[in-house]
């Protein structure tokens, strides 16, 4: 884009244009400067300090970081968060693609299905977390359903004697939150994949038909490569969202039982706003941001974007 106005002769109209643009942008630029870029720099600076909000920050060099890497809770949180992210992103993306392909057919009631699948993603994370807590209780409806359908026997064979306290058992708590997350986001990402599918020219499928490609071959050689931009977006947004998982943990488990659902974002919250180790929490935040950045870069490389 050619944005440089002619430097000379001095142009009054161009000046007015520039001024108008900055007047329109002023509020947004101010918000970004004060609440995004300045705090980003500030957080980095604070991560090298001991800071409790009430007394001035005290320089400690790399102590926050070296403490962090020696701390069990931090590694537990990284392990939990990574497992959570991998499972949730894989499941929600697969489900989003499957549902989008089903809805891309010529079917009746398309709008109805689209709205129904999308519903979970528009609701409050707190309300949804409370509803799932209720469902997951030992005497809750999930266990009632499993008994009713005799699915409790295979679970018992896995060592989960029914009724299972889904959020209270360290072996299942993180998985229960994962299920809730996939339930609430799959429909959202489905909409994005569906938009991507509708952009694929039908001529590609016609050509594949002429060549005698099976539906599976069409999916692998036409649909998937054409969907790459949508998939890239869906996976990136999924990674960023999952690595920051907080609301569900705060409402449903508070990191328990036995730290089974301690995620990095929740650890950071506790260190900052419960223990007032603000400098240390900034160090956690930067390591988390680095992990997120690295994961998206790896993903970009893997998908050849």
């Amino acid at each position: 884009m050619s944005t440089t106005p002619p430097p000379r002769p001095y142009n009054r109209a161009a000046l007015a244009e520039n001024l108008a643009a900055y007047v329109f942008l002023a509020p947004v630029l101010l918000l970004m400067a004060v609440f995004a870029f300045w705090p980003l720099a500030n957080a980095f600076w604070l991560s090298f300090h001991a800071y409790d909000l009430f007394s001035p920050p005290r320089w400690v060099g790399l102590a926050n970081y070296s403490y962090l890497f020696a701390e069990d809770d931090f590694w537990i949180s990284v392990r939990n968060t990574t497992l959570y992210t991998v499972v949730v992103v894989a499941c929600q993306t697969a489900l989003a693609v499957a549902l989008a392909i089903l809805l891309d057919q010529s079917i009746r009631g398309k709008t109805f299905f689209r709205v129904a699948y999308f519903l979970p993603s528009v609701t409050s994370s707190v309300a949804i977390s409370l509803i799932f807590m209720f469902i997951f209780f030992k005497n809750g409806v999930l266990n009632q359903f499993l008994t009713f359908t005799h699915l409790d026997a295979p679970l018992a064979a896995l060592g989960l004697a029914p009724p299972v306290d889904w959020l209270g058992d360290p072996r299942t708590a993180l998985w229960a939150i994962m299920l809730q997350n996939v339930w609430s986001t799959a429909g959202f990402f489905m909409i994005i994949v569906l938009a991507g599918l509708q952009d694929i020219p039908t001529s590609l499928y016609e050509a594949a038909d002429v060549d005698g490609a099976t539906p599976w071959q069409q999916f692998v050689y036409v649909t998937l490569p054409q969907l790459k931009p949508s998939l890239f977006y869906v996976i990136t947004m999924g990674l960023i969202g999952c690595f920051q998982v907080f609301d569900q943990v705060y409402v449903m488990t508070e990191g328990g039982p036995l730290k089974a659902t301690l995620t990095t974002a929740y650890l950071l919250y506790k260190e900052a706003f419960v223990n007032f180790n603000m400098g240390y929490a900034c160090a956690i935040a930067f390591v988390l941001a680095t992990i997120i950045f690295a994961a998206t870069m790896v993903q970009k490389r893997l998908m050849g974007e």
Binding site: L25, P120, I135, W183, F188, D247
Partner: protein, 279 residues
Amino acid sequence: MSAPTRNTNPLATAAFYAVLVGFVVFSVFPFVFALLTSFKAPADAFAPGLLPPTWTLENYQGIITGAPLFMRWVLNSIIIAVASVGIIVLLSLMGGYAFARIAFKGRDALFVLMLASMMIPGQVLWIPNYATLTQLGWVNTWWALIPGLVTTVTSGVFMVTQFLKAIPKELEEAATLDGLSRYAMFWVLIIPLAGPVVASMTITSFMASWNMFAWPVIVLNSPELFTLPIGLNFFKGLYTTKWSLIMAGSMFNTIPVLVVFVFFQRYFIKGVATAGMKE
């Protein structure tokens, strides 16, 4: 790709619809179940079966008359949502107008910077923003919610920019000849055109504000200032044994959004789908 039409086998069609409907049940069940539970007496909350053994409104009565703060939280959430939507839509239109229609110095760099700001993980900003709010004296006031909505503003600017770029330039050229200033053009030409994008922004920003949890729970500590999601979580702590009451409370937080969504889903889904086209 048109499997069911190609496939005239009625059994295959039935199986196809069974899968679609099965997933509808999966998506909708938690809401329906919570709604049904909200009509159960607290003692029946865990009774086997989905339907209430006896239907009762006592949970709703309990909330409306017996929990004075609850309706206050509903009201707080409504006030905050209305104010946020108004401000977010206006700021997004202004910013998007500048980016899409004015060739100014530094435009491309600022646009990239704005997209970059949306990529900063929220948690990195929690602590310094909290410190800033402390200095401003805004902690435990509604002003403190502003940092929690900055990315909603920037994504609104992005949406408006994409929308206005698609409109032919000739529109303003004619207006310039008529001697209209940029500011007049914004009100007279751009706002009336922006209907569809305003509709999708209204819905996305309403939902962002109505559902927002992590940031408000950090910066608000007086129960009378709470928004509904924080209030609901607080409520859970007060009535840990009365799950039908908690389910009734959850309905206050979910039903308004579901109603708004079902009525305006066309605009909303369109907004989400275009966001995916960013790449």
